[in-house]
C-alpha cells in the first residue's frame, strides 16, 4: 500500500511538474527575468570587486555565488507564487484531487530548474571574472554537485514559505524577512563547501555528504509542513468522534467492539 502511495505521489509530482514547465515554456517569464537579474548582479559584482587580487577574491567568490543564489531564488519564488495568486490557481491546485506533497515537489522542482539555469550562467561568469573561480571550470562534476545540492536545500525551504505567504494572502515583503534567516544554514554549508572546493580540500566529499543530508532533512520537513501550513490541519477530533472512529475500524476488521 505504502509503495503504491509513493508511486502515486511520484506520478502526480511529475504530471504537475510537466504542467509547470509547459506554462513556463509558453512565455519563459521566470527564466528570462531570473537570468537577466543574475547577469545584472554578476555585472555589479564585477564592477565592485574586479580590482581585487586573486588571494583576496578567493574568500569572496563563495559569498558571491551563494548571495546571488539567495537573491535570485527569492525573486523567482516571489514571482512563481504571485502568478498563482493573480489567477487564484493555488486554490484550484489545493482542491484538485492530488496529494499536497506532489504540489510541493512540483513547485520545488520547477523553481530548482530555474535556479539551475541561472547557475549555468552564474558559475562560468564568476569563473571568468575572478581568477579564483577558475576551479569551477577545472572541476565541473564537483561544482555541479555542489550547486545542485545548495539550490535544492534553498528551494526546499523557500517553496514552503513562498507558498504559505501566497496562500494566506500574506505580505510579499515578509518573504525576504523569513527566507534569509531560515535559508542561511543551507547557504553557510554551501559557503564552507565552496571554500573547500576552491582550496582543493580533501574533505570535500564529506562536506558534500553533509549538504546532501541537510537537503534530505529540509525536504522532509518542508513536505511534512506543506499541507498544514497551506490548508491547516483537520480540526481536532472530539473524544466521542474518536471512539466512533475506533469502533468503525474494529467492526471493519471483524473484531468485537470495546466496552
Amino acid at each position: 500500500m505504502l509503495h503504491l502511495a509513493r508511486v502515486r505521489v511520484l506520478r502526480q509530482s511529475l504530471l504537475l511538474l510537466r504542467s509547470e514547465l509547459r506554462q513556463e515554456l509558453r512565455d519563459l517569464e521566470l527564466v528570462l527575468t531570473s537570468t537577466f537579474f543574475t547577469l545584472v548582479v554578476l555585472g555589479m559584482f564585477y564592477l565592485s570587486f574586479a580590482a581585487l587580487e586573486k588571494k583576496h577574491t578567493l574568500p569572496a567568490v563563495p559569498g558571491l555565488l551563494w548571495l546571488t543564489v539567495a537573491f535570485v531564488g527569492s525573486i523567482t519564488l516571489t514571482r512563481a507564487f504571485d502568478r498563482e495568486r493573480e489567477a487564484d490557481t493555488l486554490r484550484a491546485l489545493l482542491v484538485a484531487p492530488v496529494e499536497r506533497t506532489a504540489i510541493y515537489v512540483a513547485k520545488a522542482g520547477s523553481t530548482l530548474l530555474v535556479l539551475l539555469v541561472c547557475c549555468a550562467l552564474l558559475v562560468p561568469g564568476l569563473a571568468s571574472m575572478f581568477p579564483a573561480g577558475q576551479v569551477f571550470l577545472d572541476m565541473p562534476l564537483e561544482t555541479a554537485t555542489l550547486v545542485v545540492l545548495g539550490c535544492l536545500g534553498y528551494v526546499a525551504i523557500g517553496t514552503l514559505f513562498a507558498a504559505g505567504l501566497a496562500g494566506g494572502g500574506g505580505k510579499n515583503m515578509l518573504l525576504a524577512v523569513i527566507l534569509y534567516p531560515v535559508t542561511t544554514p543551507v547557504l553557510m554549508f554551501g559557503l564552507v563547501t565552496t571554500r573547500a572546493l576552491l582550496d582543493n580540500n580533501p574533505n570535500l566529499p564529506s562536506y558534500l555528504g553533509q549538504m546532501a543530508a541537510l537537503d534530505v532533512i529540509l525536504l522532509g520537513v518542508g513536505a511534512l509542513l506543506f499541507e498544514p501550513v497551506l490548508v491547516g490541519a483537520a480540526p481536532a477530533r472530539t473524544a466521542q468522534a474518536a471512539r466512533q472512529h475506533a469502533r468503525e475500524r474494529l467492526r471493519a476488521a471483524g473484531r468485537e467492539e470495546p466496552r
Binding site: I157, L160, F161, G164, L165, G167, G168, G169, G170, K171, L174, V177, I178, Y180, P181, V182, T184, P185, M188, V192, Q210, I217, V221, L225, P228, V229, L230, G232, A233, P235, A236
Partner: protein, 226 residues
C-alpha cells in the same frame, strides 16, 4: 480564593530570588578566577545559561508550533509565541555577552566562528517569527508556526556546528571540564534564570490565551447585537 495553579508563578519568583542573590555573590566573591582567561571568565556564568535558555525556548516554541499546526490549538499557539519571546530575550543576552567575552579572551568580539554565526541565525529566525506573528495577517500564524519549527531544527545544527566545522570556539564539552567549585556556582545561576524565565513565560502564555478568549467574547457580543 486563588486557584492552586495561580500560585505557581509567585512560587517560581520566590524560589528564584534567593537563588539569584546566592548565585551572583558566589560568582564574584567565592569562585576563583580561571587560569588562562582570568576575571573575564566570570561572564561564562551569565553567557552560557542564557545560551541554553535561548535554545531551550526555541525547542519549546518549535514543539508547540507543531502541536498548533496539527491540532489548531490556541494554547499551543500562545505557548509558541511566549517561548519565542523569552528565547529572543535570552538570545539578546547571548549576543551582548558573547562579544564582550570574546573581546577579552580572543582579542576580537566576533571571530565569525560557526557556533557564533549559527546562534546569531537562530536569534534572527526567532526575530523573524516574532515579526511574522505581529505583522502577518491571520493565516500567517500557520506560516509562523512552520518558521518556529525550522528554528527548532536549527538548534541541533548549532550544537554540532563546532564538531562539524572545527572552529576556535570553546568545544561543546567546556561545562563538563569545569572544576567542582565552578559547577557549584554555575547550577544555581542557571536555576535562577530558568525559574524567572518560566515564571515570565507562564504569565505571558496565560495573557495570550486570555486575549484570544476576549477577542472571541467580543465577536460573540457583536454577533448577538447584529
Amino acid at each position: 480564593m486563588k486557584r492552586k495553579s495561580e500560585l505557581v508563578v509567585p512560587l517560581l519568583f520566590l524560589a528564584a530570588a534567593p537563588l539569584a542573590v546566592y548565585s551572583v555573590q558566589r560568582v564574584f566573591l567565592h569562585t576563583p578566577n580561571e587560569r588562562t582567561m582570568g576575571t573575564a571568565f566570570k561572564i561564562f556564568f551569565f553567557h552560557v545559561p542564557m545560551g541554553w535558555l535561548c535554545m531551550l525556548m526555541a525547542v519549546i516554541s518549535g514543539v508547540a508550533a507543531y502541536v498548533q499546526l496539527r491540532r489548531r490549538s490556541r494554547t499551543a499557539a500562545a505557548v509558541a509565541l511566549a517561548s519565542a519571546e523569552i528565547g529572543f530575550l535570552g538570545g539578546l543576552g547571548v549576543m551582548l555577552t558573547g562579544p564582550i567575552w570574546g573581546h577579552a579572551t580572543w582579542g576580537t568580539p566576533w571571530t565569525g566562528d560557526a557556533r557564533q554565526v549559527t546562534t546569531a541565525l537562530l536569534w534572527l529566525v526567532i526575530a523573524a517569527y516574532l515579526l511574522l506573528r505581529h505583522f502577518g495577517q491571520h493565516a500567517s500564524e500557520r506560516l509562523a508556526a512552520a518558521l518556529a519549527i525550522f528554528g527548532a531544527v536549527n538548534v541541533p545544527l548549532i550544537y554540532y556546528a563546532v564538531k562539524l566545522w572545527k572552529t576556535t570556539h570553546p568545544t561543546t564539552g567546556v561545562v563538563a571540564k569545569l572544576p567542582p567549585e565552578m559547577w557549584a556556582t554555575f547550577w544555581p545561576g542557571l536555576g535562577a534564570l530558568l525559574l524567572v524565565s518560566f515564571g515570565l513565560f507562564a504569565i505571558r502564555a496565560r495573557q495570550l490565551v486570555l486575549a484570544g478568549e476576549l477577542d472571541d467574547a467580543y465577536v460573540r457580543l457583536e454577533d448577538s447585537r447584529a
